[in-house]
Each structure stands twice: as C-alpha cells, then as structure tokens.
C-alpha cells in the first residue's frame, strides 16, 4: 500500500500497464520529458523511452487520428489531451472514427484506446480549461466514458480501460488531482467499467453524482440535519451507466437528486432522471431534482464557483426534494 494522490495513482497504473504490455504506448502534447502539464506522465519517458511516451506536435486531431491508427494495427494507445477544452479539434477522430470502427466493420477492426483527459473546473484556470463535456461523448454511441474521483478507483479503472477492447474516454477531475491522498495497493487490480459505487448508505434520498462533485456532495451531506439519511452514489463510469445501482437505491429512498458540473439542459441529469422514472415510477415521492451547472458558457474563474454546484446549492436541492 502507498499513500497516493489521484495524479500518482494514475501514474502508477500507467507504469504497471506499460510494464505488463509492450503494446501500451502514450502520446500527447508535452507528455514526454516534461511529464505532461499536470505531471501525470512524470518519469515515464525516462523509464520507458521516448518511443513509448511520445511527445506529439500540437495537433489534437493528429493525436487521436494517429492513436486510432496505432490501435487498428494492434497497439494499445493511451493518448492524452491536455485539457477537455481542447478536445474540439479531435472530435471528428473520436466520434466519427474511434467510436465507429467496430460497428461499421462488423467487428473486423477494433479500437482498444484509452483517451485520458483532465476535466472540470475549480482550479482558477484560464478559459477553456474548466469545462465538463462528458455528456457530449456519452451521447455519441460507441464510446465508454469513465470519470473516477478517488486515487483507488482511478488506478483500478484506468487498468480496466487500457485492457478494454473498445475506446474509453478516461476523464480525470483535475480539481482532485492533488487534493488528497489515500491508500492504494501496489499490486495491479481492476475495477470493472460500468459499476457505480455507493459512497454512503441512506434511506431518505439518493444523490447521484460523479467526478469532483462527489466531494461537494459529501460536504452538503455533512451540513444536513442528523436525522436525514442520504445515499450517495458515485457513478465512476458514466457510460455504460449503472442503472441497477441507481434504481435499487431510489426504490428504497423514493427521492433522487442528480448533481453535475456540466450545464443542465440535455446533460446527464436528464438521462438519469429519465431512467429513474422508467424504473422507479411507483416508488417516487418527489420529482427528480437536478443541481447542475447553468446553461451558459463556463465563466472565467472569478465566477466559476458561482457556476459550479457547491455544498450550499446541493444542500438546498436535497432539502427541497425531501420536503416535497
């Protein structure tokens, strides 16, 4: 066991998968000697050589397109995009190529690729360094979307992602990168893609969230009266979504609040809300509440904390839903 930050846990998973499998290669802007702008790939170029930890030209479309080519030919590429705001130029390669190859070749060509991307706000970063675009890629069929928020989950899920035969987007909540440490086993272990985690059990209401918002929700739960018992679910994987865990919880509690940083409209809160009413209609005692970012451009950092759901706003959402 080692006491690791999220950054270190991800780094450890990369080291172990690169050691275990020669076909795992990393590519991206500044991932080499510099170890990436968040130092997630620190030490890897020195350890595995530049050819397996490739600094690329400043071209996101190029990074993803080349990764697709590597994957077609039997490699297991792990491309990094520096910030979620720069996925734009790579969109075509992700959605129109990586996501489609298996289906359009009826399984003849597959893309075992793990795209790592720091995501989300709250670190006082410049424009386009704080967005939450996970719903865009969830809406695009053919991609698995993972967003762990603890060092332990990140290691296990990243190993699963790299071993997965299909393209996975692995979102890393940058606000949590160095926020705290926890015990992470040295040995390799996996956490299955598609399994949510019940962070705390409760009977009165279910909160569903993922990424850095998990910590905002925990803070909100701390602020609730003693006699209120809330079940908190960290999705960990966004696509495929673990509807069973959510439904089992809401059948028990009868109330559900979904929390996410991304804008509300057509966000994942809408999807989860739809699933809850499909599966738990007769158990529901209140409408599903969404506590999310607003339907606006993510503001620059002076106002970012007003935009992102914080413990106060989440707490209100929970109390209203309870009182309904």
């Amino acid at each position: 066991m080692a006491n690791l930050t999220l950054v270190q846990a991800i780094n450890l998973a990369l080291v172990q998968e690169m050691e275990a499998d020669e076909s795992v290669v990393l590519l991206g802007e500044d991932v080499g000697l510099n170890g990436g702008v968040f130092r997630v790939t620190e030490g890897l170029a020195q350890r595995f050589g530049d050819h397996r930890v490739q600094n690329t030209p400043l071209d996101e479309s190029g990074i993803l397109g080349a990764a697709v080519g590597l994957a077609i030919a039997g490699m297991k590429p792990v491309p990094e995009i520096q910030f979620e705001g720069f996925l734009g130029p790579a969109y075509d390669q992700i959605v129109n190529h990586a996501a489609r190859f298996r289906n359009r070749t009826r399984g003849a060509i597959t893309i075992p690729m793990t795209l790592r991307v720091p995501v989300g706000g709250g670190i006082h970063a410049p424009e386009l360094h704080s967005d939450s675009p996970e719903a865009i890629y969830t809406h695009s069929p053919g991609l698995k979307i993972v967003m762990p928020c603890t060092p332990y989950d990140a290691k296990g899920l990243l190993i699963s992602a790299i071993r997965d035969p299909d393209p996975v987007i692995f979102f890393e909540p940058k606000r949590v990168y160095r926020a705290y440490r926890e015990e992470v086993p040295e040995d390799e272990y996996t956490i299955p893609i598609g399994q949510a985690k019940v962070v705390s059990e409760g009977d009165d209401l279910t909160v569903v969230t993922w990424g850095a918002s998990v910590f905002q929700c925990l803070e909100a739960l701390d602020g609730l009266p003693e006699d209120v018992s809330v079940e908190l679910i960290d999705l960990r994987t966004i696509d495929p979504i673990d509807t069973d865990t959510i439904a089992a919880s809401v059948e028990k509690t009868g109330r559900c609040v979904v929390v996410h940083e991304a804008p509300m409209t057509a966000g994942l809160g809408a999807e989860i809300s739809a699933r809850v009413q499909e599966r738990c209609f007769l158990h529901l005692q209140a409408p599903v509440q969404r506590v999310t970012g607003f339907d606006t451009i993510m503001p620059y950092y002076k106002l970012e904390l007003e935009y992102m759901p914080d413990a106060n706003r989440i707490g209100k959402g929970i109390r209203e839903c309870l009182a309904y």
Binding site: E29, D59, V291, E306, Y324
Partner: protein, 379 residues
C-alpha cells in the same frame, strides 16, 4: 520528355539590427534616413520596456495569488512592437494569440484589459468600441481563420486599404486550422499578414519535434504565399518586413507570411517550469539577443539615449504599470447575472429563471410547485 525541375524557391532572412547592435545601413536606411526615426525607436523602446514591466508585475501578482495563470511575453517584445507599429491602427484588424500584448496595446487596447483577462474576468475581453482587435485566444492555432474571414470581409465590401494581421506560435502551425487559414486566405486571395512568433518551443516541445521542416516560413510555400523570415528580436527587421508585407497585401490583395525568429525568455506560463526541459546554456545564448538591450545600444550609438533617460523610463514604466494594475483591481466584483446576460442578444426564459434564482433544480426555481410542503419555502 526528360525530368525537369518544375518548382524552385527560396526563403530570405532579414536582419538589420543584429545582436551586437550593428546596424545594416544597406537595409535599414531608405532615402537617406533610417526606416524608423530616432523618435520612433525611442517610442518603441519605451513600449517594449513597459510591456516587460507589465510582465514582471503580472508574474508577481500570480505568485502572490492575485492573478491566475499568465503567459509572459518576455524576450519576444520586438515582434509585437515592430509589427503592431507597422499596421494601421483603426483600419487594420489585429487577431492575436497571447504573446502580443504590445501589439494589442498599440492598436488601442488598454493594458488593464489584458490583466483582467488573466484575472479570470470576461470584461478583459470586452474590447472597447473602435479598437479593432479580437481578444486573447486560448485554443491554439484556431483563431487565424478569423483573420482570413475578416480580410475576406474587406474584399467583399471593396475596402482596398485594409489588412488583417494574425499572430500565432510555432506550435500553432501544427493544428489543422492553421493550414485551413493559410488555404482560405490564399485561395480567396485576401489581405492577411500571418505572423508566426517562432520562439523555438511549444511548452516543452522543441521546434524539431513539432515539425520536420527547419523553418516555419517554408509552410507558406505550399500556399504560394509570399514569405520572409526575420530576426524577431530586431525591431527594424520586424517593422520593415511587416510594413512591406502590409503594402504587398493591400496592393495585391493577397496574404503574406512572416516568421519572426525569437525566444521566450520566461517560462511558458506561470504554471510552467522551463528548467525541466531546456538548458541554461540555451537560455543564456538568447538572453544575449534580448531585443531591449540591442535597441537601447542602437539609441545610445545615436546619442538618442543615456543612463539618465533610462532611469526616467524605468520610473515611468513602474508608474504606468502600477496604474494599470490599479485599474484592473479597482473594477467592481462581477455579479452572477453576468454569467447569463451576454449569452444571447436576448436571453430565453430558461436562462432568465436560472439567472434570477441561481438554481437549476425545478423545485428550487419554483417553490410554489404543486405538492411542495409549506415549510420548505425558505429552505
């Protein structure tokens, strides 16, 4: 038929005031006078000095937690100053990246706007009326297309004496949109100066890993674009190249490509530590090529500068920058309604309700929703 050479070309490199402050009279003198008068050089030297002072203070503000990430322009000032000065303020458009503070300022943007941008405040992008400058652009390599579009509008409206200039780094030329911009500008044949500040690095990625070509300028060949390389730390070469490029663009209604060979003397941004990837030796070599040092030497050689004036300038620059910082700091805290108000010319009901309640939860937005127990009204 035998095999023939069907295309041959070359790329020129222009240097007038070299790193030892030697002035090439054959290139730098026109009609018996230097292409920039002493007063003009003094003015540009002062602008470069203020630009650098702004960098110093911005760095300190960031380190003391009063500003977010900031990219210093240090070492590259002659590119922005010389080219910005050569373009026509109020007529031409400036489409910058983030290492052209001086060009933006020369075209009328008060410096505190730039600070506000990096202080996490959109009002830093609220370009004042009449300033023909797009805001600092963060997604690398994508904004040059806007310059092509702006120049196209000149053509569509028959505005013959207008030109756009766009700035970008060496790394930016790897993006597909860079090539799109070059292709659009050259096929539509519109007046844009593409100014690449080749500072040798894109964060930690050196030029050789960024591109196989030894120059950036040769990328213009594929677009049949006239091109020139200049010593980007030489205010005369930058000025002359841009002045001539602008003239060429306007007269021929075509784009033009300039590669300014330069170096960033600071870290990539305040979030970076350049010692991780580049050598002290390389840095020292470029320190000696500092545009400020050689410009000062030139002025001194013409008796247009001395230690006393230097001291005055340093005091003046500190005062000017203090005022800029005060201006940026004295702006009122932004209100939460600003998150919403500029989303559209007129915002829709959903946005209005979100703005007025600062809530997305349906019950929170409308506590009177049927079935809500009375005691939650003040929840």
């Amino acid at each position: 038929m035998p095999k023939n050479t069907v295309y041959e070309t070359d790329i020129e490199f222009l240097s007038i005031l070299d790193e030892d402050a030697q002035f090439d009279e054959s290139l730098g003198i026109e009609d018996g006078e230097p292409i920039l008068s002493d007063e003009q050089v003094v003015y540009l030297y002062e602008q470069m000095w203020i630009g650098r002072q702004l960098d110093e203070i911005a760095f300190k503000l960031q380190r003391s937690g009063r500003m977010g990430t900031y990219p210093q322009n240090k070492g590259q000032e002659a590119n922005a100053a010389g080219s910005g000065f050569a373009m026509k303020k109020g007529t031409d458009w400036v489409v910058p990246c983030y290492r052209e503070n001086i060009a933006m300022n020369l075209h009328g943007l008060p410096y505190h706007y730039i600070l506000l941008h990096w202080m996490g405040d959109e009002r830093g992008n609220q370009i004042p009326e009449g300033v023909l400058c797009t805001p600092i652009s963060v997604p690398i390599g994508t904004h040059m297309l806007h310059a092509a579009g702006i120049a196209w509008s000149f053509k569509l409206r028959g505005e013959k004496d207008r030109c756009a200039i766009t700035y970008f780094g060496d790394g930016a030329t790897s993006e597909g949109d860079f090539h799109g911009a070059m292709n659009f500008a050259s096929t539509l044949s519109v007046p844009v100066v593409f100014y690449c500040q080749n500072n040798q690095w894109a964060i930690s990625v050196p030029r050789e890993q960024q591109m196989a070509s030894p120059t950036v300028a040769q990328k213009a060949i594929a677009y049949e674009m006239p091109r020139i390389m200049v010593d980007g730390n030489d205010i005369f070469a930058v000025y002359k190249a841009t002045r001539d490029a602008r003239k060429y663009c306007v007269e021929n209604q075509t784009p033009y490509f300039i590669e300014g060979v330069t170096y960033r003397l600071g870290d990539h941004t305040t979030a970076d530590d350049a010692r991780r990837y580049r050598s002290e030796e390389e840095l020292q070599q470029w320190m000696a090529k500092d545009p400020l040092i050689r410009t000062r030497k030139y002025l001194e050689s013409r008796d247009a500068w001395n230690d006393e004036r230097q001291l005055e300038l340093e005091t003046h620059a500190r005062k000017v920058v203090d005022e800029i910082v005060n201006e940026a700091n004295s702006i009122a805290e932004p209100t939460t309604s600003e998150i919403f108000d500029s989303m559209f010319a007129e915002i829709d009901d959903d946005l209005r309700i979100q703005r007025d309640t600062m809530r997305t939860s349906s019950i929170g937005q409308n506590p009177e929703q049927a079935g809500l127990k009375a005691q939650t009204q003040n929840a």
